[in-house]
């Protein structure tokens, strides 16, 4: 079997007596479009935080491209190709959009510690950042401080930063959270247009988005994987309907 893009092996996390992740075996194939869903409190955020390295698991292993990264810190995981976006926008708020993206590209390229030549003269960085902004239709906002953008556009900047890191695996933590419904279509468009070689795991509450985007879905309930399968299988699964989707929902 070929190496997975990202894999967990009996991943556990407990806070005292409370177990929030219970022997999670999870596999993200290269180039996958995978969704992680589950009711509130299912442990999705904890799971993602363990994947990114924000919190350490109590036991179990995490493999990125077949390599054990359980002990690798957050920033080093990013440098190995694990990108993420945040559920709540986590941006350099008073910096221009261009800088938000360029800072990430500079880290990836190892330019971030250069102290002499002016940042704006590093055209390899600024050109790449502008190109990336163009693909997300953010060119006209390049010089605008992020905090002056509408929220929907801030979500796009969040995605732009992650893409600038050229990740092999991208974790999207509720990319459409808090976005007014008329703008969420734009985000779905962007997600659909992401390069096919990036393996993507999306955590999302918006079922419409999940079923349109994902090729596989994992359902997490009370820290355990309840079921994993194709969207039509998940939609037809009786247990999933009971715990999560509710009787009224249909695919």
């Amino acid at each position: 079997m070929a190496a997975s893009a990202l894999e967990t092996d009996k991943l556990c996390k407990s806070f005292g007596a409370l177990t929030v992740a219970d022997r999670i075996d999870f596999r993200l194939e290269p180039g996958a479009r995978h969704a992680l869903i589950g009711p509130n409190g299912a442990g999705k955020t904890t799971f993602v935080n363990m994947l990114t390295g924000a919190i350490a698991p109590s036991s179990g292993r995490i493999l990125l491209g077949g390599e054990d990264i359980t002990k690798v810190n957050q920033a080093a995981r990013v440098r190995r190709g694990l990108g993420r976006t945040f559920q709540v926008t986590t941006l350099f708020r008073s910096l221009p959009v261009l800088d938000n993206v360029a800072l990430g590209i500079a880290e990836r390229d190892g330019v971030a510690r250069r102290m002499w030549k002016a940042a704006s003269k590093h055209s390899e960085i600024t050109d790449e950042a502008m190109q990336l902004l163009a693909t997300l239709a953010l060119t006209s906002d390049a010089r605008t401080p992020v905090k002056d953008l509408p929220y929907g556009r801030q979500r796009l900047v969040e995605i732009a930063i992650a893409l600038g890191l050229k990740p092999k695996v991208l974790l999207l933590d509720e990319p459409a959270a808090g976005v007014p419904s008329q703008d969420s279509g734009r985000i779905l468009e962007v997600l659909a247009g992401l390069p096919g070689d990036i393996a993507i795991l999306i955590i999302e509450h918006d079922m419409d988005l999940v079923f349109r985007f994902a090729q596989r879905i994992t359902v997490l309930v009370q820290g355990q994987v309840l079921v994993e399968g194709r969207p039509d299988e998940i939609a037809a699964d009786r247990r999933v309907r009971d715990v999560y989707l509710g009787e009224a929902t249909h695919a």
């Binding site: 990114t52 941006l91 002016a118």
Partner: protein, 329 residues
Amino acid sequence: MSGYTSDPRIRWQESLPWIIGIAAFFLLPEYLSLGARVLIYILFALSLDLILGYAGIITLGHSAFFGLGAYTAGVLSAKYGLTDPFLQLLAAAAAAALLGITTGAVILRTKALTLLMLTLAITSIVLEIANKATWLTGGADGLSGVKVDPILGLFKFDLFGKTAFIYCLIALFIGWLVVRRMIYSPFGAMLTGLRENTARMHAIGAPVYWRLVLVYTISATMAGVAGALLTQVNQFVGLNVLGLEPSGDLLVMLILGGVGRLYGAFVGPVVYLIAQDYLAKQYPEYWYFGIGVLLIVVVLFARGGILGIIDKWLQALSRQTSSAKASAR
């Protein structure tokens, strides 16, 4: 200022400090000693702006490096006969850098109030060491007998402070050049990232802790050089370069001038030290009151410091002139 969208070319306003400096040398010969002190504090404030204004590291302990630099130069000269001015600066820089990297490596794992208290603790410890090690530092009496060779073997430190002033002006110019380059570079942009959002910095793969230690060490080195300059100019060093007070004064100066603006570090010390000099002569007992009022006014009415006010005025002015032009058409 700084970042991937800013134009790094030097604007004409940026030549003002140097024009004013040179003009002061010729026009105010009786104030050159005060002038040299102002220049030293500008260099010191510049080093603080780098970590506080750009990288967002809050500190009340920056005098530890200033003081260590001052004592390194003083002790080497008075006790070990090292009188070459450049070697003194070099030794002070090295000592401050060493203290910066070792203390930074410990305390920069913490944040906010904890960090603030730890920085204060460090300068207090260094102060206490300087106070107790009287055989080396002279303790509370200070260390006199500091000798400094003529600069390049040509320019003796004179009574009127002419050499001292030009020497400090050149040192400041070099320091400014380095800091200015740095803040416009990718490194400088990265520093603003640290200030804005460390969670985001982690998520773009930046080794946040090491970056903080790096900039803290660079800043400490500069502060050490500033301290050594003070010793050389005064040919004396006392305990007043260490502890909370000089750190607090420095912070007040930078806030007065404007934090994270590069030139706030120029305006602040000028205003503060001239006000102090004037007020201390007029009202020897109450001069701190005047400084306090100044600070309250700035914090209440001008969050960006004096430079912040000027920026707002200029913006309002340009709006007016552009609307006047529009109505004239």
